[in-house]
């Protein structure tokens, strides 16, 4: 069987790659994709702990299911916002979208 810490390290690596993407990308859609990477890393972690600690209880799986719901809502609203901004400003560069910046 695969040791639990392999899963944890995989998910940590995926999370850090996603975090790097969120910070450095200069395209809102690319940032959204990097957030998806981070959400997937969280789900790997939740399911790994569910598998290795409480496979009989459904708690870990239920939490992972809620992450799915949040991810779907986030993508829908995020892409809608990006599309609305793009139609108005003709750009998706977060550094040029500075209407709310002081």
């Amino acid at each position: 069987m695969v040791p639990l810490n392999w899963y944890l390290i995989l998910s940590a690596a995926l999370f850090c790659i996603g975090m790097y993407g969120v910070v450095v990308r200069r395209n809102a859609i690319a940032i959204l994709m990097a957030i998806e990477l981070m959400l997937n890393a969280v789900n790997i972690n939740l399911l790994a702990f569910w598998r290795y600690h409480e496979p009989v209880a459904a708690t870990g799986q239920a939490f992972a299911a809620f992450v799915y719901v949040v991810a779907a809502a986030e993508v829908a609203v995020g892409l809608a916002l990006i599309d609305a901004v793009y139609r108005r400003r003709r750009t998706v560069d977060p550094e040029e979208i500075n209407l709310l910046r002081w």
Binding site: V23, V24, I29, L37, L47, Y52, A62, F66, V75, A84
Partner: protein, 165 residues
Amino acid sequence: MTAQQALFLLFGVITLGAALAVVVGRNLFHTALWLLLVFFGVAGIYVLLEAPFFAAAQLFIYMGAIGILIIFGVMLTRRVMRQPLPRANEQWWLAAIMAVALLGVLAWLAWQQPWTAAAAAVPENSISLLGLALVDPEGFALPFEVASVLLVMALIGAVMIVRER
């Protein structure tokens, strides 16, 4: 090394390699395709974790719905799609240091912790247990309903935001 560990390494390499391609690629459309490969690799990991429901949901929801939605998003911002993505911002090296440092700390924590080695077997009916827990008032019935309302509100809100005025 057992077959499971070999498969884990295979899916792990697929996932992390594609994830790196997602965050450094210069072509937004190709980046979206790499993201689909990440979702596929994670689905393989879920199979190894004996979570068949999530492996299937990963393929349907992530690769099917979210992946296609992102590709639509890429295509709707067409002028951006045609030109290569702008370079990473000036602080990319700082972000890289932070990411590697965070990875180092998390990996060290995961490595030196004596996790329980042997896990109990997953019950045969783990999917129906999950389904029951989601509608059980003692379990997750309320969070489940709240999540449903959240999703509906997010979708209605998305439609409101993109509506032509």
